[in-house]
Symmetry: C2
Subunit: 162 residues, 2 copies
DNA sequence: ATTGAAAGCATACGTGG
DNA sequence: CCACGTATGCTTTCAAT
């Protein structure tokens, strides 16, 4: 069961994870040690999965986002293809989506040449692959992994117990 | 210019952002104060964009991932549609992709009913929208925003200067 | 959940490479 | 320009309540 205070803590951390505990305590109106205990519990429950730094892709020369739709000739190739796609360093996401039985892959590369190389040399030749449909993001208006915590209903909270 | 040590610091923080400075210093073999100075510089350069907590979507009842492909009747609607999509709480990503002049939207919802509601009530009726093609992720094999720092070449490093 | 004490850590500054 | 060591003031952590 997650109460309002823990939810508030998650919300604070989701925006600024590297703020001191005392500051969180001040914002939620508890003693620092109480906040710490709650955070530890959230970590043990697996609700908090870890802490990450947000890096700027542009500054690190990774500003090309592309989506690949990959269809298979043989369904048996599924596991191997999924593993191969997952292993590529430029791969950020690999989903299997309904509709046309295809993988939807999000890649982040440094430039078109690198993307081309990856698609041609590392993906297109994988056994079992039928087609690779590459689409480049011309503009990105939003990109986050944030989970909206305002929308968490009471039922949801109790389901987060185990 | 990013050198190996700063790169190593980024790599450490990308996995565990909430570890003490001293620990980072120990791992890279510098004094804590030197590490701090480098981190501050990376922040000021905009390479480090912030710190986030990674929450577990399953524990918070947000385990349904869907991708929408949205095409427009009129190109003039572009800005308004982009803004409306971005504003929805379940929206995690909004890209404009090459190919068929469509938005590619990643949504994370609690259940099919909620997704349906969002698509029908908040999206399908927006002025200027032609079609909404919804595809649900049946399986997710990889999902991360991590930038592969091993692949950073010397040229890239110098381009990160400004 | 709080308090308070002890340990550990962040940070500024002075020094030197 | 960058790293180090040190001193000071915080923060974290734990035991007791």
């Amino acid at each position: 069961m997650i109460d309002d205070i823990s939810l508030q803590i998650l919300k604070i951390l989701q925006e600024k994870a590297r703020i001191p505990n005392v500051e969180v305590a001040r914002q939620v109106g508890l003693a620092p040690s109480a906040v710490l205990e709650r955070i530890r519990k959230l970590e043990k429950q697996g609700i908090i999965d870890g802490y990450e730094v947000r890096l700027n892709p542009e500054k690190l020369n990774r500003n090309l986002v592309a989506f690949l739709q990959i269809s298979l000739v043989r369904p048996e190739a599924y596991e191997d293809v999924a593993a191969a796609l997952t292993a590529l360093p430029d791969t950020q996401e690999v989903h299997f989506v309904s509709g046309n039985d295809v993988f939807l892959v999000k890649m982040r590369s440094s430039c078109v040449a690198e993307l081309h190389h990856t698609v041609q040399k590392q993906i297109a030749g994988l056994p079992g692959i039928a087609r690779v449909n590459t689409r480049i993001a011309l503009a990105t208006h939003k990109e986050s992994a944030t989970i909206p915590l305002d929308a968490i209903s009471p039922e949801t909270r109790s389901s987060a117990l185990f």
